[in-house]
């Protein structure tokens, strides 16, 4: 992969160029409560590239919390359907976290599986992702434990690595190369003396035994661990909302008058009690233990089974967001220990 260089001033100028040409630019920004979140910006001054973790992930740029699927209008006996566009304006993500960019690539598997999701891939096609190498956030990060890394280029078209006077720019894909070619004056060759990377890094955890975890999950459906861990779970779905890889959605028909309405898809989560509630009143996942188990199994057993990799990129947001103190790293460690047969693990029923 080629590596070039961009100064911070030129990055600001590049952003201004993109905005001026009508390209949407999304980046980490400062929210009203001083937290960081990904939002569309109108000025480089709004962009926050200080390594702070946006509270939600990139998935909402490709799978919005709510989006119309079609609109209908009735005229006497006829129904007219209005399709929604499946091509989207050009967008650049500036400063994506590697865990978030990788997650989008992970989700491409399910989004292109039995039905090619035109809205997801329409947005993917229109978007160029510029990742920013990550110094680590805190000890809840575990990308390296699930096969990722703070410098991962997965899902990125360009990777920026912060250095003293600017950024190293690694070209990852042809789409990234096209961005460079369209703005040649902003990028330069690597300075001969090679400035050193800026700042220390938080130590990255070692790999988890994902294969063993998957095997354990497949044969321990009724293990008392699930009821124990689910005790403190509120079934709130805060974890799913901040997760870069959770992607379940609900489809609703929303009347907006007697003769018109919108069919939408909305974010949903397997953690709520109504997620698997049947019209008959039967609920196959009838307690929080069953629901909590489902989330772990989907991520670490079912998705690997179908697509060959886990549905998790180790960002740690679920543990940070959980109001009840659930800790996925701790849980995976426990399952790993159970799987390895370090069986002094005591579980309270």
């Amino acid at each position: 992969m080629d590596t070039l260089f961009i100064t911070r001033e030129n990055l600001a100028a590049l952003t201004a160029d993109l905005l001026a040409s009508g390209t949407h630019v999304a980046a980490p920004t400062r929210a009203s409560d001083a937290q960081t979140e990904y939002r569309y910006v109108t000025d480089f001054a709004q962009v926050r590239l200080d390594g702070s973790m946006p509270r939600r992930s990139l998935k909402e740029l490709f799978l919005p919390p709510t989006e119309p699927l079609l609109r209908w209008r009735q005229h006497q006996g006829d129904v007219e359907l209005q399709e929604v566009p499946t091509s989207f304006p050009p967008t650049v993500v500036l400063g994506a976290r590697p865990c978030d960019a990788a997650a989008v690539d992970v989700l491409d598997r399910v989004m292109g599986w039995d039905y090619r999701d035109e809205l997801w891939f329409g947005r993917r096609a229109a978007t160029t992702v510029i990742s920013l190498a990550c110094p680590g956030v805190d000890d809840l990060c575990f990308c390296s434990a699930v096969g990722g890394s703070p410098e991962s280029t997965r899902g990125a078209d360009l990777l920026l690595t912060p250095v003293t006077d600017g950024y190293h720019v690694t070209v990852v894909t042809d789409k990234g190369r096209s961005l460079l070619s369209a703005h040649p004056s902003r990028f330069g060759a690597l300075p001969a003396s090679g400035p050193l990377p800026a700042g220390p890094r938080i130590p990255a955890p070692g790999p988890l035994p994902l294969g063993q975890i998957r095997t354990w999950l497949e044969s321990n459906f009724d293990h008392p661990l699930w009821h124990e861990v689910a005790l403190r779970c509120h079934g709130c779905g805060a974890c799913a909302s901040v997760c870069p890889t959770c992607h379940c959605f609900d489809i609703v028909d929303e009347p907006e008058g007697v003769d018109r309405g919108t069919r939408r898809r909305n974010w949903d989560t397997c953690q709520t009690s109504v997620f698997t509630l049947h019209a008959s009143g039967h609920n196959p996942r009838h307690d929080q233990g069953a629901r909590f188990r489902q989330r772990l199994m989907h991520k670490f057993s079912i998705y690997p089974d179908k697509f060959g990799e886990v549905l998790c990129t180790g960002c740690g947001r679920c543990a940070r967001a959980c109001p009840a103190g659930q800790d996925i790293v701790e849980l995976l460690g426990r399952i790993g220990a159970l799987a390895a047969g370090n069986g002094h693990e005591k579980v309270e029923a």
Binding site: P64, P65, E256, T262
Partner: protein, 150 residues
């Protein structure tokens, strides 16, 4: 106030009124049979009692295009079900402050006690509400809500 010449293009507000069956609905009927002149902008939804009126009704009315809402029932001590209006009084005292706090202009919501014999009062409540909401204009802020995405 609009002049006759302006009235052709004056905005006509849509008002939904949630009223109790025993007092206000009957009073409104009396206003009608007495041929009292009042603005035609109000659509009445009849409930057994103001105690049955859920704040969600008010929210739904605004969602579905109302520019103003009226909630009306029996005077204190006259409730057909004894205390329904007392519960409503407390509930709406609080709900009104909630609406105000969230930025919904409370001049769009009228609360009244109108008894079965107060046809004239109903006419006044209707005319005053319509005039007040007419001046505020259509409730565009609410009606445009779903179209905006985060």
């Amino acid at each position: 106030m609009a002049t006759a010449a302006e009235s052709l293009t004056t905005f006509e507000p849509r008002i939904t009124a949630f009223v109790c069956n025993w007092c206000t609905y009957t009073g409104a009927d009396l206003a009608g049979t007495s041929r009292l002149q009042m603005a035609p902008n109000v659509r009445i939804v009849r409930l057994p009692c103001t105690g049955r009126i859920d704040p969600l009704f008010v929210i739904k009315a605004f969602e579905r295009g109302a520019d103003g809402v009226i909630v009306s029932g029996c005077h204190p001590a006259d409730c057909h079900y004894t205390a329904g209006n007392y519960h409503a009084r407390r509930r709406f005292a609080v709900f009104r402050e909630l609406l105000d706090f969230m930025g919904i202009d409370t001049r769009r919501v009228t609360f009244s006690w109108v008894s079965a014999s107060e046809g004239g009062k109903w006419r006044d409540v209707v005319n005053e509400t319509v005039a007040r909401v007419q001046e505020l204009g259509p409730f565009e802020a609410y009606h445009q809500l779903a179209g905006r995405q985060a």
